[in-house]
Amino acid sequence: MFEFFNQPEIIKIVVIIGSMTLFFVGLFGLLTQKHLIKIFMSVAIMESGLFLLFIGLIYKQNALAPILTDNQQGFINMNDPVPQAMILTAIVIGMAVLALGVSFAIEYHKLTGKTDIDEITSLRN
Protein backbone atom coordinates (compact mmCIF):
# COMPACT_ATOMS: atom_id res chain seq x y z
CA MET A 1 0.00 0.00 0.00
CA PHE A 2 2.81 2.39 0.73
CA GLU A 3 4.22 2.02 -2.77
CA PHE A 4 0.96 3.44 -4.07
CA PHE A 5 1.50 6.57 -2.01
CA ASN A 6 5.13 6.89 -3.05
CA GLN A 7 4.42 7.73 -6.66
CA PRO A 8 5.21 11.37 -7.46
CA GLU A 9 1.71 12.25 -8.69
CA ILE A 10 0.01 10.92 -5.59
CA ILE A 11 2.46 12.76 -3.37
CA LYS A 12 1.73 15.99 -5.21
CA ILE A 13 -2.02 15.49 -4.87
CA VAL A 14 -1.64 14.87 -1.15
CA VAL A 15 0.53 18.00 -0.81
CA ILE A 16 -2.03 20.11 -2.65
CA ILE A 17 -4.93 18.85 -0.53
CA GLY A 18 -3.01 19.25 2.71
CA SER A 19 -1.71 22.76 2.08
CA MET A 20 -5.05 23.95 0.76
CA THR A 21 -6.63 22.63 3.97
CA LEU A 22 -4.28 24.84 5.95
CA PHE A 23 -5.05 27.77 3.65
CA PHE A 24 -8.78 27.38 4.07
CA VAL A 25 -8.54 26.89 7.83
CA GLY A 26 -6.70 30.20 7.94
CA LEU A 27 -9.24 31.84 5.64
CA PHE A 28 -12.10 30.55 7.82
CA GLY A 29 -10.39 31.95 10.90
CA LEU A 30 -9.82 35.28 9.20
CA LEU A 31 -13.49 35.62 8.30
CA THR A 32 -15.11 34.43 11.51
CA GLN A 33 -12.82 35.22 14.44
CA LYS A 34 -13.38 38.36 16.41
CA HIS A 35 -10.29 38.77 18.56
CA LEU A 36 -7.52 40.76 16.87
CA ILE A 37 -4.71 38.37 17.80
CA LYS A 38 -6.67 35.40 16.48
CA ILE A 39 -7.09 37.21 13.17
CA PHE A 40 -3.34 37.74 12.96
CA MET A 41 -2.77 34.07 13.74
CA SER A 42 -5.14 33.11 10.93
CA VAL A 43 -3.14 35.23 8.49
CA ALA A 44 0.03 33.41 9.64
CA ILE A 45 -1.67 30.04 9.10
CA MET A 46 -2.69 31.02 5.58
CA GLU A 47 0.88 31.97 4.76
CA SER A 48 2.17 28.65 6.12
CA GLY A 49 -0.24 26.82 3.86
CA LEU A 50 1.09 28.63 0.81
CA PHE A 51 4.72 27.95 1.65
CA LEU A 52 3.95 24.29 2.19
CA LEU A 53 2.27 24.15 -1.21
CA PHE A 54 5.28 25.69 -2.91
CA ILE A 55 7.91 23.51 -1.28
CA GLY A 56 5.87 20.36 -1.68
CA LEU A 57 5.24 20.85 -5.37
CA ILE A 58 8.81 21.83 -6.29
CA TYR A 59 10.36 18.71 -4.76
CA LYS A 60 11.95 16.25 -7.18
CA GLN A 61 12.10 12.60 -6.23
CA ASN A 62 15.56 11.21 -5.41
CA ALA A 63 17.24 14.57 -5.82
CA LEU A 64 19.69 15.90 -3.27
CA ALA A 65 19.82 19.16 -1.35
CA PRO A 66 21.64 21.87 -3.34
CA ILE A 67 24.79 21.81 -1.22
CA LEU A 68 27.99 20.34 -2.53
CA THR A 69 29.49 17.74 -0.22
CA ASP A 70 32.55 15.56 -0.58
CA ASN A 71 30.96 12.73 -2.55
CA GLN A 72 29.69 14.74 -5.48
CA GLN A 73 31.38 16.00 -8.58
CA GLY A 74 29.12 18.83 -9.57
CA PHE A 75 25.75 20.39 -9.10
CA ILE A 76 23.78 17.68 -10.83
CA ASN A 77 20.49 16.09 -9.80
CA MET A 78 19.84 18.65 -7.12
CA ASN A 79 16.69 20.34 -5.98
CA ASP A 80 15.82 23.83 -7.08
CA PRO A 81 17.37 26.51 -4.83
CA VAL A 82 15.27 29.46 -6.03
CA PRO A 83 12.00 28.54 -4.23
CA GLN A 84 13.96 28.09 -1.03
CA ALA A 85 15.36 31.60 -1.38
CA MET A 86 11.95 33.04 -2.23
CA ILE A 87 10.28 31.38 0.75
CA LEU A 88 13.06 32.55 3.06
CA THR A 89 12.36 36.13 2.00
CA ALA A 90 8.58 35.69 2.19
CA ILE A 91 8.73 34.15 5.69
CA VAL A 92 10.81 37.02 7.06
CA ILE A 93 8.61 39.66 5.44
CA GLY A 94 5.42 37.98 6.66
CA MET A 95 6.76 37.67 10.18
CA ALA A 96 7.89 41.31 10.26
CA VAL A 97 4.48 42.60 9.17
CA LEU A 98 2.67 40.36 11.65
CA ALA A 99 4.94 41.45 14.52
CA LEU A 100 4.16 45.06 13.64
CA GLY A 101 0.44 44.26 13.62
CA VAL A 102 0.63 42.63 17.03
CA SER A 103 2.41 45.70 18.41
CA PHE A 104 -0.37 47.92 17.01
CA ALA A 105 -2.93 45.68 18.72
CA ILE A 106 -1.05 45.79 22.03
CA GLU A 107 -0.85 49.59 22.00
CA TYR A 108 -4.51 49.90 20.98
CA HIS A 109 -5.54 47.62 23.80
CA LYS A 110 -3.52 49.66 26.27
CA LEU A 111 -5.20 52.88 25.15
CA THR A 112 -8.80 51.72 24.86
CA GLY A 113 -9.09 48.24 26.33
CA LYS A 114 -10.77 46.79 23.25
CA THR A 115 -9.65 43.77 21.25
CA ASP A 116 -12.85 42.78 19.54
CA ILE A 117 -12.88 43.70 15.90
CA ASP A 118 -16.61 44.41 15.99
CA GLU A 119 -16.05 47.09 18.60
CA ILE A 120 -13.30 48.94 16.73
CA THR A 121 -15.64 51.29 14.94
CA SER A 122 -14.74 54.77 16.08
CA LEU A 123 -14.03 55.72 12.45
CA ARG A 124 -17.30 55.66 10.56
CA ASN A 125 -17.26 53.36 7.60
Binding site: E47, F54, L57, P83, T89, V97, L100, G101, I120, N125
Partner: protein, 481 residues
Protein backbone atom coordinates in the same frame (compact mmCIF):
# COMPACT_ATOMS: atom_id res chain seq x y z
CA UNK B 1 24.70 57.75 -13.68
CA UNK B 2 22.78 54.64 -12.91
CA UNK B 3 19.16 54.28 -12.00
CA UNK B 4 19.81 52.06 -9.02
CA UNK B 5 20.95 55.19 -7.15
CA UNK B 6 17.29 56.22 -6.93
CA UNK B 7 16.71 53.24 -4.67
CA UNK B 8 20.13 52.73 -3.08
CA UNK B 9 20.56 56.31 -1.84
CA UNK B 10 17.32 56.55 0.15
CA UNK B 11 18.00 53.07 1.55
CA UNK B 12 21.51 54.14 2.57
CA UNK B 13 20.12 57.26 4.19
CA UNK B 14 17.50 55.23 6.02
CA UNK B 15 20.05 52.75 7.38
CA UNK B 16 22.49 55.50 8.36
CA UNK B 17 19.99 57.78 10.10
CA UNK B 18 20.43 56.48 13.66
CA UNK B 19 24.04 57.63 13.43
CA UNK B 20 23.23 60.82 11.57
CA UNK B 21 20.89 61.75 14.40
CA UNK B 22 23.96 62.26 16.58
CA UNK B 23 24.42 65.46 14.60
CA UNK B 24 21.08 66.76 15.77
CA UNK B 25 17.61 66.59 14.36
CA UNK B 26 18.15 69.46 11.98
CA UNK B 27 21.05 67.56 10.46
CA UNK B 28 18.78 64.67 9.54
CA UNK B 29 16.15 66.95 8.01
CA UNK B 30 18.57 68.89 5.87
CA UNK B 31 20.47 65.77 4.75
CA UNK B 32 17.21 64.16 3.69
CA UNK B 33 16.21 67.23 1.69
CA UNK B 34 19.66 67.48 0.10
CA UNK B 35 19.55 63.84 -0.96
CA UNK B 36 16.09 64.23 -2.47
CA UNK B 37 17.17 67.36 -4.36
CA UNK B 38 20.13 65.42 -5.74
CA UNK B 39 17.80 62.65 -6.90
CA UNK B 40 15.53 65.20 -8.60
CA UNK B 41 18.51 66.70 -10.38
CA UNK B 42 19.60 63.19 -11.43
CA UNK B 43 16.13 62.47 -12.79
CA UNK B 44 16.18 65.63 -14.90
CA UNK B 45 19.59 64.80 -16.34
CA UNK B 46 18.37 61.36 -17.39
CA UNK B 47 15.53 62.73 -19.50
CA UNK B 48 16.24 62.21 -23.15
CA UNK B 49 18.53 59.23 -22.75
CA UNK B 50 17.80 56.03 -24.60
CA UNK B 51 16.14 53.35 -22.53
CA UNK B 52 18.61 51.15 -20.76
CA UNK B 53 18.73 48.32 -18.31
CA UNK B 54 20.50 48.42 -15.00
CA UNK B 55 21.82 44.97 -14.12
CA UNK B 56 21.87 43.70 -10.56
CA UNK B 57 24.47 40.98 -10.04
CA UNK B 58 23.66 38.95 -13.15
CA UNK B 59 22.22 39.85 -16.49
CA UNK B 60 18.54 39.41 -17.31
CA UNK B 61 16.64 37.22 -18.13
CA UNK B 62 18.18 35.23 -15.30
CA UNK B 63 18.60 38.03 -12.80
CA UNK B 64 16.93 41.19 -11.57
CA UNK B 65 17.23 44.37 -13.60
CA UNK B 66 15.84 47.87 -13.56
CA UNK B 67 14.49 49.26 -16.80
CA UNK B 68 14.66 53.02 -17.29
CA UNK B 69 12.53 54.09 -20.22
CA UNK B 70 10.31 57.11 -20.83
CA UNK B 71 7.43 56.00 -18.68
CA UNK B 72 9.58 54.92 -15.74
CA UNK B 73 11.40 58.22 -15.95
CA UNK B 74 8.09 60.11 -15.90
CA UNK B 75 7.06 58.40 -12.68
CA UNK B 76 10.50 58.70 -11.09
CA UNK B 77 10.63 62.44 -11.81
CA UNK B 78 7.06 62.92 -10.53
CA UNK B 79 7.71 61.04 -7.29
CA UNK B 80 11.00 62.75 -6.50
CA UNK B 81 9.52 66.16 -7.29
CA UNK B 82 6.51 65.57 -5.03
CA UNK B 83 8.76 64.31 -2.26
CA UNK B 84 10.99 67.39 -2.55
CA UNK B 85 7.92 69.66 -2.34
CA UNK B 86 6.67 67.72 0.68
CA UNK B 87 10.05 67.91 2.40
CA UNK B 88 10.33 71.66 1.88
CA UNK B 89 6.82 72.09 3.32
CA UNK B 90 7.67 69.87 6.28
CA UNK B 91 10.93 71.69 6.90
CA UNK B 92 9.07 74.81 7.96
CA UNK B 93 6.13 72.92 9.48
CA UNK B 94 8.45 71.25 11.96
CA UNK B 95 9.53 74.53 13.48
CA UNK B 96 6.33 74.61 15.45
CA UNK B 97 4.75 71.18 15.19
CA UNK B 98 7.48 68.64 14.72
CA UNK B 99 6.53 64.98 14.91
CA UNK B 100 7.89 63.05 17.87
CA UNK B 101 10.83 60.72 17.21
CA UNK B 102 11.44 62.68 14.08
CA UNK B 103 14.40 60.66 12.84
CA UNK B 104 12.08 57.68 12.43
CA UNK B 105 9.69 59.86 10.43
CA UNK B 106 12.44 60.77 7.97
CA UNK B 107 13.49 57.13 7.63
CA UNK B 108 9.91 56.15 6.79
CA UNK B 109 9.56 58.96 4.23
CA UNK B 110 12.68 57.90 2.41
CA UNK B 111 11.79 54.22 2.47
CA UNK B 112 8.42 55.13 0.96
CA UNK B 113 10.17 57.04 -1.82
CA UNK B 114 12.64 54.20 -2.48
CA UNK B 115 9.93 51.56 -2.65
CA UNK B 116 7.64 53.63 -4.88
CA UNK B 117 10.52 54.16 -7.33
CA UNK B 118 11.39 50.47 -7.07
CA UNK B 119 7.85 49.43 -7.98
CA UNK B 120 8.08 51.54 -11.11
CA UNK B 121 11.56 50.48 -12.23
CA UNK B 122 11.71 46.79 -11.47
CA UNK B 123 11.35 44.10 -14.11
CA UNK B 124 11.17 41.03 -11.91
CA UNK B 125 7.98 39.87 -10.31
CA UNK B 126 9.36 38.82 -6.95
CA UNK B 127 11.22 42.11 -6.71
CA UNK B 128 7.89 43.87 -7.30
CA UNK B 129 6.47 41.89 -4.36
CA UNK B 130 9.37 42.94 -2.09
CA UNK B 131 8.90 46.62 -2.97
CA UNK B 132 5.13 46.18 -2.54
CA UNK B 133 5.82 45.08 1.02
CA UNK B 134 8.33 47.85 1.80
CA UNK B 135 5.88 50.52 0.61
CA UNK B 136 3.10 48.83 2.55
CA UNK B 137 4.94 48.58 5.83
CA UNK B 138 6.17 52.19 5.66
CA UNK B 139 2.60 53.31 4.99
CA UNK B 140 1.20 51.29 7.94
CA UNK B 141 3.62 52.91 10.39
CA UNK B 142 3.06 56.39 8.93
CA UNK B 143 -0.69 55.91 9.40
CA UNK B 144 -0.38 54.94 13.06
CA UNK B 145 2.37 57.45 13.80
CA UNK B 146 0.52 59.68 16.23
CA UNK B 147 -0.56 56.75 18.42
CA UNK B 148 -4.04 58.09 19.11
CA UNK B 149 -6.82 55.47 19.21
CA UNK B 150 -8.18 56.48 15.82
CA UNK B 151 -4.71 56.45 14.26
CA UNK B 152 -4.03 52.98 15.66
CA UNK B 153 -7.39 51.75 14.46
CA UNK B 154 -6.63 53.04 10.97
CA UNK B 155 -3.21 51.39 11.14
CA UNK B 156 -4.68 48.03 12.17
CA UNK B 157 -7.24 48.14 9.35
CA UNK B 158 -4.60 49.08 6.80
CA UNK B 159 -2.25 46.35 8.01
CA UNK B 160 -4.89 43.63 7.91
CA UNK B 161 -6.03 44.45 4.40
CA UNK B 162 -2.43 44.76 3.23
CA UNK B 163 -1.52 41.35 4.66
CA UNK B 164 -4.45 39.72 2.87
CA UNK B 165 -3.39 41.42 -0.36
CA UNK B 166 0.16 40.14 -0.04
CA UNK B 167 -1.06 36.58 0.61
CA UNK B 168 -2.94 36.56 -2.69
CA UNK B 169 0.01 38.10 -4.51
CA UNK B 170 2.37 35.44 -3.14
CA UNK B 171 -0.08 32.76 -4.24
CA UNK B 172 -0.06 34.16 -7.79
CA UNK B 173 3.77 34.34 -7.86
CA UNK B 174 4.00 30.73 -6.59
CA UNK B 175 1.70 29.48 -9.35
CA UNK B 176 3.61 31.45 -11.97
CA UNK B 177 6.97 30.03 -10.88
CA UNK B 178 5.63 26.48 -10.70
CA UNK B 179 4.15 26.53 -14.17
CA UNK B 180 6.40 28.87 -16.16
CA UNK B 181 9.67 28.56 -14.33
CA UNK B 182 10.98 32.08 -14.39
CA UNK B 183 10.52 35.23 -12.36
CA UNK B 184 11.47 37.73 -15.06
CA UNK B 185 8.53 39.70 -16.47
CA UNK B 186 9.66 39.24 -20.07
CA UNK B 187 9.97 35.44 -19.91
CA UNK B 188 6.65 35.15 -18.09
CA UNK B 189 5.00 37.39 -20.70
CA UNK B 190 6.28 35.17 -23.49
CA UNK B 191 5.02 31.96 -21.90
CA UNK B 192 1.85 33.19 -20.28
CA UNK B 193 -0.38 32.47 -23.28
CA UNK B 194 0.67 28.84 -23.34
CA UNK B 195 -0.88 28.15 -19.96
CA UNK B 196 -4.24 26.35 -19.86
CA UNK B 197 -7.19 28.70 -19.78
CA UNK B 198 -8.49 28.00 -16.29
CA UNK B 199 -5.03 28.47 -14.79
CA UNK B 200 -4.62 31.77 -16.64
CA UNK B 201 -7.94 33.05 -15.31
CA UNK B 202 -7.11 31.85 -11.79
CA UNK B 203 -3.72 33.58 -11.72
CA UNK B 204 -5.25 36.78 -13.15
CA UNK B 205 -7.97 36.80 -10.49
CA UNK B 206 -5.38 36.28 -7.72
CA UNK B 207 -3.34 39.17 -9.12
CA UNK B 208 -6.42 41.37 -9.33
CA UNK B 209 -7.35 40.67 -5.71
CA UNK B 210 -3.76 41.12 -4.55
CA UNK B 211 -3.23 44.45 -6.26
CA UNK B 212 -6.88 45.43 -6.02
CA UNK B 213 -6.63 46.16 -2.31
CA UNK B 214 -3.85 48.64 -2.97
CA UNK B 215 -5.21 50.10 -6.22
CA UNK B 216 -8.41 50.94 -4.33
CA UNK B 217 -10.94 49.39 -6.64
CA UNK B 218 -14.49 48.46 -5.61
CA UNK B 219 -15.24 46.38 -3.51
CA UNK B 220 -11.77 46.32 -1.99
CA UNK B 221 -11.54 49.98 -1.08
CA UNK B 222 -13.49 49.95 2.18
CA UNK B 223 -10.34 50.74 4.11
CA UNK B 224 -9.35 53.91 2.26
CA UNK B 225 -11.59 56.49 3.92
CA UNK B 226 -10.95 55.15 7.42
CA UNK B 227 -7.20 55.21 6.88
CA UNK B 228 -7.32 58.75 5.51
CA UNK B 229 -9.43 59.89 8.44
CA UNK B 230 -7.26 58.20 11.05
CA UNK B 231 -3.92 59.42 9.85
CA UNK B 232 -2.82 63.04 9.66
CA UNK B 233 -3.46 65.14 6.57
CA UNK B 234 0.29 65.51 6.07
CA UNK B 235 0.70 61.78 5.51
CA UNK B 236 -2.48 61.57 3.41
CA UNK B 237 -0.82 63.79 0.82
CA UNK B 238 1.86 61.16 0.30
CA UNK B 239 -0.64 58.32 0.14
CA UNK B 240 -2.76 59.83 -2.59
CA UNK B 241 0.12 61.48 -4.42
CA UNK B 242 2.80 58.83 -4.53
CA UNK B 243 1.80 55.44 -3.15
CA UNK B 244 -1.36 54.69 -5.08
CA UNK B 245 0.18 55.87 -8.37
CA UNK B 246 3.12 53.49 -7.97
CA UNK B 247 0.77 50.56 -7.34
CA UNK B 248 -1.38 51.57 -10.33
CA UNK B 249 1.61 51.62 -12.64
CA UNK B 250 2.98 48.30 -11.37
CA UNK B 251 -0.42 46.60 -11.83
CA UNK B 252 -1.05 47.87 -15.32
CA UNK B 253 2.51 47.37 -16.48
CA UNK B 254 2.24 43.71 -15.52
CA UNK B 255 -1.24 43.46 -17.04
CA UNK B 256 -0.10 44.86 -20.38
CA UNK B 257 2.78 42.42 -20.49
CA UNK B 258 0.84 39.31 -19.51
CA UNK B 259 -2.43 39.96 -21.36
CA UNK B 260 -1.46 42.14 -24.33
CA UNK B 261 -4.61 41.40 -26.28
CA UNK B 262 -6.85 42.87 -23.63
CA UNK B 263 -8.87 39.79 -22.71
CA UNK B 264 -10.34 41.06 -19.47
CA UNK B 265 -10.42 44.74 -20.35
CA UNK B 266 -14.22 44.98 -20.55
CA UNK B 267 -14.55 43.55 -17.05
CA UNK B 268 -11.91 45.93 -15.68
CA UNK B 269 -13.45 48.95 -17.41
CA UNK B 270 -16.82 48.30 -15.84
CA UNK B 271 -15.22 47.59 -12.46
CA UNK B 272 -13.47 50.98 -12.62
CA UNK B 273 -16.67 52.74 -13.68
CA UNK B 274 -18.67 51.22 -10.81
CA UNK B 275 -15.96 52.28 -8.33
CA UNK B 276 -16.06 55.81 -9.70
CA UNK B 277 -19.83 56.19 -9.34
CA UNK B 278 -20.00 54.67 -5.88
CA UNK B 279 -17.11 56.82 -4.61
CA UNK B 280 -18.69 60.04 -5.85
CA UNK B 281 -22.12 59.15 -4.46
CA UNK B 282 -20.76 58.33 -1.00
CA UNK B 283 -18.67 61.51 -1.01
CA UNK B 284 -21.77 63.66 -1.12
CA UNK B 285 -22.75 63.03 2.47
CA UNK B 286 -19.41 63.15 4.26
CA UNK B 287 -18.81 65.73 6.94
CA UNK B 288 -15.12 65.34 7.59
CA UNK B 289 -12.89 67.14 5.13
CA UNK B 290 -10.30 64.34 5.04
CA UNK B 291 -13.00 61.80 4.18
CA UNK B 292 -14.44 64.05 1.45
CA UNK B 293 -11.07 64.27 -0.24
CA UNK B 294 -10.42 60.57 0.34
CA UNK B 295 -13.57 59.67 -1.60
CA UNK B 296 -12.65 62.22 -4.26
CA UNK B 297 -9.26 60.49 -4.54
CA UNK B 298 -11.06 57.16 -4.92
CA UNK B 299 -13.11 58.57 -7.76
CA UNK B 300 -10.10 59.97 -9.61
CA UNK B 301 -8.06 56.78 -9.10
CA UNK B 302 -10.99 54.77 -10.45
CA UNK B 303 -11.02 57.04 -13.50
CA UNK B 304 -7.30 56.41 -14.04
CA UNK B 305 -7.95 52.67 -13.61
CA UNK B 306 -10.73 52.74 -16.22
CA UNK B 307 -8.55 54.68 -18.64
CA UNK B 308 -5.62 52.29 -18.26
CA UNK B 309 -7.92 49.30 -18.65
CA UNK B 310 -8.97 50.45 -22.11
CA UNK B 311 -5.45 49.85 -23.47
CA UNK B 312 -5.48 52.49 -26.20
CA UNK B 313 -2.94 55.25 -26.80
CA UNK B 314 -5.33 58.15 -26.20
CA UNK B 315 -6.63 56.63 -22.99
CA UNK B 316 -3.17 55.99 -21.61
CA UNK B 317 -1.96 59.47 -22.50
CA UNK B 318 -5.06 60.88 -20.83
CA UNK B 319 -4.45 58.71 -17.77
CA UNK B 320 -0.89 60.01 -17.49
CA UNK B 321 -2.15 63.60 -17.67
CA UNK B 322 -4.72 62.84 -14.96
CA UNK B 323 -2.00 61.23 -12.81
CA UNK B 324 0.14 64.36 -13.11
CA UNK B 325 -2.74 66.73 -12.39
CA UNK B 326 -4.24 64.64 -9.60
CA UNK B 327 -0.99 64.11 -7.71
CA UNK B 328 -0.09 67.78 -7.71
CA UNK B 329 -3.63 68.90 -6.84
CA UNK B 330 -4.07 66.38 -4.03
CA UNK B 331 -0.72 67.29 -2.48
CA UNK B 332 -1.75 70.96 -2.58
CA UNK B 333 -5.12 70.21 -0.97
CA UNK B 334 -3.81 67.97 1.78
CA UNK B 335 -0.92 70.28 2.66
CA UNK B 336 -3.40 73.18 2.82
CA UNK B 337 -5.60 71.05 5.10
CA UNK B 338 -2.56 70.48 7.31
CA UNK B 339 -2.07 74.22 7.70
CA UNK B 340 -5.79 74.66 8.43
CA UNK B 341 -5.72 71.88 11.03
CA UNK B 342 -2.65 73.33 12.70
CA UNK B 343 -4.43 76.63 13.21
CA UNK B 344 -8.04 75.65 13.79
CA UNK B 345 -7.52 72.18 15.34
CA UNK B 346 -10.51 70.69 13.52
CA UNK B 347 -11.17 69.36 10.06
CA UNK B 348 -14.93 69.21 10.13
CA UNK B 349 -16.60 70.50 6.99
CA UNK B 350 -17.95 73.52 8.83
CA UNK B 351 -14.47 74.80 9.50
CA UNK B 352 -14.47 76.01 5.91
CA UNK B 353 -17.24 78.43 6.77
CA UNK B 354 -14.99 80.05 9.34
CA UNK B 355 -11.84 79.90 7.26
CA UNK B 356 -9.99 83.16 7.11
CA UNK B 357 -7.03 82.66 4.80
CA UNK B 358 -7.20 84.45 1.46
CA UNK B 359 -4.07 82.85 0.03
CA UNK B 360 -5.09 79.33 1.00
CA UNK B 361 -8.60 79.79 -0.35
CA UNK B 362 -7.31 80.68 -3.80
CA UNK B 363 -4.88 77.79 -3.78
CA UNK B 364 -7.51 75.25 -2.75
CA UNK B 365 -9.97 76.58 -5.33
CA UNK B 366 -7.40 76.26 -8.12
CA UNK B 367 -6.60 72.69 -7.09
CA UNK B 368 -10.28 71.73 -6.94
CA UNK B 369 -11.04 73.27 -10.33
CA UNK B 370 -8.15 71.29 -11.77
CA UNK B 371 -9.51 68.06 -10.32
CA UNK B 372 -12.92 68.76 -11.82
CA UNK B 373 -11.49 69.12 -15.29
CA UNK B 374 -12.38 72.73 -15.98
CA UNK B 375 -10.61 74.00 -19.11
CA UNK B 376 -7.46 76.08 -18.54
CA UNK B 377 -6.59 73.88 -15.54
CA UNK B 378 -4.39 70.83 -15.62
CA UNK B 379 -7.10 68.24 -15.16
CA UNK B 380 -9.00 69.27 -18.28
CA UNK B 381 -6.81 67.77 -20.97
CA UNK B 382 -6.57 64.43 -19.18
CA UNK B 383 -10.32 64.02 -18.86
CA UNK B 384 -10.81 65.24 -22.42
CA UNK B 385 -8.39 62.66 -23.83
CA UNK B 386 -9.99 59.85 -21.82
CA UNK B 387 -13.49 60.83 -22.98
CA UNK B 388 -12.24 61.04 -26.55
CA UNK B 389 -10.68 57.57 -26.25
CA UNK B 390 -13.94 56.08 -25.04
CA UNK B 391 -15.89 57.88 -27.76
CA UNK B 392 -13.56 56.54 -30.45
CA UNK B 393 -14.00 53.00 -29.13
CA UNK B 394 -17.76 53.68 -28.96
CA UNK B 395 -18.21 52.51 -25.39
CA UNK B 396 -20.94 55.02 -24.61
CA UNK B 397 -22.13 53.73 -21.20
CA UNK B 398 -18.70 54.43 -19.70
CA UNK B 399 -18.72 57.89 -21.31
CA UNK B 400 -22.01 58.61 -19.57
CA UNK B 401 -20.74 57.26 -16.24
CA UNK B 402 -17.61 59.43 -16.36
CA UNK B 403 -19.67 62.52 -17.10
CA UNK B 404 -22.17 61.74 -14.32
CA UNK B 405 -19.31 61.14 -11.86
CA UNK B 406 -17.70 64.45 -12.81
CA UNK B 407 -21.02 66.23 -12.29
CA UNK B 408 -21.44 64.65 -8.85
CA UNK B 409 -17.92 65.70 -7.96
CA UNK B 410 -18.71 69.24 -9.12
CA UNK B 411 -21.75 69.28 -6.81
CA UNK B 412 -19.84 68.76 -3.62
CA UNK B 413 -16.78 70.72 -4.72
CA UNK B 414 -18.89 73.78 -5.42
CA UNK B 415 -20.58 73.26 -2.07
CA UNK B 416 -17.16 73.42 -0.43
CA UNK B 417 -16.17 76.47 -2.47
CA UNK B 418 -19.43 78.10 -1.43
CA UNK B 419 -18.62 77.43 2.23
CA UNK B 420 -15.23 79.04 1.80
CA UNK B 421 -16.54 82.23 0.25
CA UNK B 422 -19.84 82.84 2.00
CA UNK B 423 -20.35 85.87 4.17
CA UNK B 424 -20.28 85.36 7.89
CA UNK B 425 -18.09 85.44 10.95
CA UNK B 426 -14.58 84.24 10.39
CA UNK B 427 -12.01 83.16 12.90
CA UNK B 428 -8.55 84.67 13.20
CA UNK B 429 -6.56 84.93 10.04
CA UNK B 430 -4.12 82.14 9.28
CA UNK B 431 -0.62 83.32 8.71
CA UNK B 432 1.06 81.27 5.99
CA UNK B 433 4.79 81.66 6.23
CA UNK B 434 7.08 82.24 3.31
CA UNK B 435 8.24 78.68 2.61
CA UNK B 436 4.67 77.41 2.52
CA UNK B 437 3.63 80.23 0.23
CA UNK B 438 6.52 79.35 -2.05
CA UNK B 439 5.58 75.69 -2.26
CA UNK B 440 1.88 76.38 -2.81
CA UNK B 441 2.65 79.00 -5.46
CA UNK B 442 5.04 76.67 -7.28
CA UNK B 443 2.55 73.82 -7.35
CA UNK B 444 -0.39 75.98 -8.46
CA UNK B 445 1.83 77.58 -11.08
CA UNK B 446 2.50 74.08 -12.41
CA UNK B 447 -1.20 73.29 -12.46
CA UNK B 448 -1.90 76.44 -14.47
CA UNK B 449 1.09 75.88 -16.73
CA UNK B 450 0.03 72.37 -17.69
CA UNK B 451 -3.53 73.58 -18.07
CA UNK B 452 -2.87 76.54 -20.31
CA UNK B 453 0.04 75.13 -22.35
CA UNK B 454 -0.25 71.38 -22.30
CA UNK B 455 1.98 71.00 -25.34
CA UNK B 456 4.94 71.57 -23.01
CA UNK B 457 4.58 68.05 -21.74
CA UNK B 458 2.16 66.28 -24.08
CA UNK B 459 4.90 65.06 -26.42
CA UNK B 460 6.77 63.42 -23.57
CA UNK B 461 3.58 61.84 -22.28
CA UNK B 462 2.65 60.55 -25.73
CA UNK B 463 6.07 58.87 -26.00
CA UNK B 464 5.62 57.41 -22.53
CA UNK B 465 2.19 56.06 -23.44
CA UNK B 466 3.61 54.43 -26.56
CA UNK B 467 6.42 52.86 -24.53
CA UNK B 468 3.95 51.52 -21.97
CA UNK B 469 1.80 49.84 -24.62
CA UNK B 470 4.76 48.50 -26.54
CA UNK B 471 5.26 45.19 -24.75
CA UNK B 472 7.10 43.63 -27.67
CA UNK B 473 10.14 45.86 -27.56
CA UNK B 474 10.20 45.71 -23.74
CA UNK B 475 10.31 41.91 -23.89
CA UNK B 476 12.93 41.98 -26.65
CA UNK B 477 15.11 44.37 -24.65
CA UNK B 478 15.01 42.15 -21.58
CA UNK B 479 15.44 38.80 -23.29
CA UNK B 480 18.46 40.01 -25.18
CA UNK B 481 20.03 41.13 -21.91
Amino acid sequence: MSSVLFIALPLLFGFATPILSRFGKNGVAFTSLAMQLFLLFLAFTLIGDKPYIEIISIAPPLGISFVLNNISLFFVTLFTFLMVAFSIYYLSYRKTDAYKNETKFFILLNMLLASAIGLVLSSDIFNVYVFFEIAGISAYILTAYKKTPSALEAGIKYLLTGSIASIFLVFAIILIYLNIGSLNLAIIAQDFETLPYNLKVFISILFLIGFGFKVEIFPLNFWVSDVYEGSTALVNSLFSGIVVKAYLFAFFHILYLFLPSGEFSTFLIYLGAISMIIAEIVALKQTNLKRVFAYSSLGQVALIFTAFALQSIDAIQGALFIILAHSIAKIVIFLALTTIEKNYKSLDINVLKELNAPFLRVVIVIAMLSLLGIPLFAGFIGKFLVLKAFAVEQIFPILAIIIIASLLEAVYYFKLIGFMFEKGDRKDKIKVDFTHKFIFSLLTFLILLVGITPFVISGFLLDSANVMLDSISYIAMLVKG
